[in-house]
Symmetry: D2
Subunit: 287 residues, 4 copies
């Protein structure tokens, strides 16, 4: 890879101890970097330390592999999970959809206007319906119909396609199939789903119908990383809107669409800007 870098982002977690920020900041200083943003958090329950730090390398030229090699001893000493991202390298995102277009439309639009600095090399669906919309944006559209019988096989093909396209992140934009564990394991903390309720309320199917019958005064949407347990993954972003007795089930679905779009978009933004760290069942999202 060895590209020349202007902006670098380090995400790191490790057991907390004295001097972590000092050592990391000193490393960056020695490399000739100027810190742009630094956020850290200590989870006092687990005793874990989490940091996101971004810096500019202006003037100082260093390759990606050199930077990683230079940092490795420190990371080893910290017993850290870590990753260095280069802002100049655009994340490669695959979007999965079924029949609802609102989330996909919003993603494609942000992509088109440049608000999302990602590449979207492909869209995958289990239905044909949204092909025209995708093709109109000059993005390849792949259909993999799913039945209980062919599911494992189809997923294998999908995974092969993702690998071929060097996909970093999978976005489920109202994709109406549950992914198998094999699929989830291939993209740990890298599959983002939007669930159309304020989780953990109304897990499973038809959350708007559940909300309608429970008579809640507020509906929500939740974007989370997908884990093998349905609707239980670490939550990245949630938001809500007020409803009233005047709202029919149809109104809930309509109002919810606006919410789903925004919540998913915000979760994707946090993810692709490398602002999310996973802490067990929870996330740390730096602002």
């Amino acid at each position: 890879m060895d590209q020349k870098l202007s902006k670098v982002i380090l995400l790191l977690s490790c057991p907390d101890r004295r001097g972590l920020v000092s050592h990391i900041a000193h490393f960056i200083f020695e490399q000739g970097g100027n810190i742009l943003d630094l956020d850290e958090h200590v989870d006092t329950e687990s005793g874990m330390f989490f940091i996101r730090v971004s810096w500019s390398m202006n003037g100082f030229w260093v390759s990606a592999s050199e930077l990683e090699d230079a940092f490795r001893p420190l990371a080893k000493d910290f017993q850290a999970n870590w990753k260095i991202h280069f802002a100049s390298k655009r994340p490669r995102v695959a979007v999965f959809v079924s029949k609802y277009e609102h989330c996909l439309q919003e993603i494609l639009w942000r992509h088109k206007t440049g608000e999302f600095a990602v590449d979207i090399p492909l869209v995958i669906s289990n239905h044909q319906d949204l092909e025209a919309l995708v093709v109109q944006h000059s993005i390849p559209f792949h259909v993999y119909p799913i039945t209980p019988e062919n599911k494992m096989e189809q997923e294998q093909e999908e995974l092969a396609l993702l690998r071929e396209n060097n996909i970093d992140t999978v976005v489920l934009a109202r994709y109406m199939q549950v992914l198998s564990q094999q699929f989830v394991d291939a993209y740990p903390s890298r599959i983002i789903n939007i669930h159309h309720s304020f989780l953990p309320a109304f897990t499973g199917g038809n959350p708007y119908r559940q909300a309608f019958h429970r008579g809640v005064k507020i509906i929500g949407a939740t974007s989370h990383y997908v884990t093998e347990e349905l609707d239980q993954g670490p939550i990245i972003e949630q938001d809500i809107i007020r409803i009233s007795h005047r709202d029919t089930l149809k109104d809930l679905i309509r109002k919810g669409r606006d919410l789903e779009r925004l919540v998913l978009i915000r979760a994707i933004s946090s993810h692709i800007e490398h602002r999310v760290l996973v802490n067990g069942r929870k996330t740390i999202v730096f602002g």
Copy 2:
């Protein structure tokens, strides 16, 4: 009672049919009333009609019983559940508490400033802790310690006390005991509880702890009428606040207190202004 009235409020529900608003409005016109506010709602699922209408009787003097007698034939024809309230008659509210003071404090304050136009003839608690606060407001404070053994008996005494004091509405201001069915049945749709979560998420005990461990990005509070099924009664009001990974469990509890206060206050306001109608498991809250 037969007091002279200035402002009257009718709450009514019945099977929907043509002409309901017309007949009711005509009745008010004939009585010499001038409609101040009219809200109605048709639940198309159940085919039920709900209305709240308030009017002034300025100039026209009529007694409460005369008004009810006059309306009875119409209500019978509609097969309606209905109640006529007189704004000049202050609701009589009993507050139940345990050890947390924030909700009680807020209620007493609104009462003192006149924002709540209610009488609070007594506060009941299963603990002694909040006596000083209550007595300071010149309100009698009654302690009924509850054990599994004495619960039914103590509740009977509490109910007797409520009856003696002509209590209309019971407010559970973080009262940490589950009421028995006998108690709930004595005040149908007239016991207001505050639950410190966004129901139906995190029912039962320790909702903030549950929320903290689930890693939600938003916490809520819910005020609802108490039914025999715990945390399942019709929701009157809900609201939320955003939290982040920075918030400890203690922060959630602290931030939640502000939310509980406001949500409970809003629910009580809606109830005492006769703006809530129950529709099965749901409520209609007119604005």
Copy 3:
């Protein structure tokens, strides 16, 4: 016109007096209508009464002109401003734009998905930029470049075009020209603008820049009817989002776009569903 109607909406304002609701409800009952929704409001300062009532005519066939003729005597007696709308008649909306696409895109999308039950016979712009987007939706796109010299003339042509197309409502979707009084007078309370601030803060140009330099913690958007006084028309809808010191001016503009879209969409919805009544400098928006 004389079409057969299923759902009818009456918007009416007049000096308040006893019996207004009763007379209106009785009129509807006599016409064979069944009231679906009724909202009313009395402005105690001005002594004015405002009502929106919708009813279904199922089974009873009556023409639009017959209905209006039947209501006229009552309205005259009330000294009312009034209008009867027929839900089956789709409002005809002209959208004005300049170079920003986000509001236009959102409108076209809601139109395409059927969420907006309106006809959009044309889009007018003072620039060529958004032609492709409009044409893609099979809507004619008209360009009228505006200079101080040709403004009155160009507006005359625009007005002629609007008349030809029987336009009811004009939506300024970030149209960057101030309309002359002659134009505004042609569509009183029927031109909807979106201003990218929480009015009355930051009137005039560059509101995000103003907000950025003032250091506010919240930015807003305001949708209002256009009057001859810039940014002073009756407000239909407002909303806000929180910002922080981290947000650059560019961030404000980006975040504001999402807000502008939603606020404008909600204002248009209220207007085309005939839920807005103007009360001097203010609006009544029934929920």
Copy 4:
């Protein structure tokens, strides 16, 4: 003072340059501190760097003056404005009020419950009205009636009283007098006011009346540091609530009270936890 410290907070601003975080973190490490929280921000417009860092000194005993002496050379090199706070030292707050009690009540309550870790050695008012409430909390209450003639003199006495009591921070809890420049200059960025509107909308007197007549759909409250220019100081916190045509001026005032309380409380919290830095006309509030 030379007390032994457990938690230390540094607030610092200086021209941005490479290595600032590294040097500060290294200093803390050398002192034996363990960083608990670090937030920094670079204002790219002004080229200024802002940091808040808190650390624990567990095990390592150092006096306040030793710590300041040790840091001074670094700060001088950075050309920094800086202050080291010790969490164990409670800020000393004077509250100024007139006749409205809601903000004062909220402050006294948070103080009583321990949520505000401050000392409140005195309350000052230009009226007698709130004496009972203050005395009930065992806090001295001082009355300084203000007329145009005696204003300068009375303020001198107030300032003397503040000095005697070692007051750090002045909170204007709906104090209805404009402070003179001499007073403001004595507590730069240390006088916190609550203005009952969403500034910069509705500056000056009667903001609710202004809002009511403008017909806004949202009202706000703003807490800011007081500067010599009325309602123009750096904003610390703002929030809003929705209103509708149903709300009378009286409703706005009532709803606004809840907002004022919360916004002022949040601003005070940020200030006393040393999370606010002033950047010209703006603030940086670390989360």
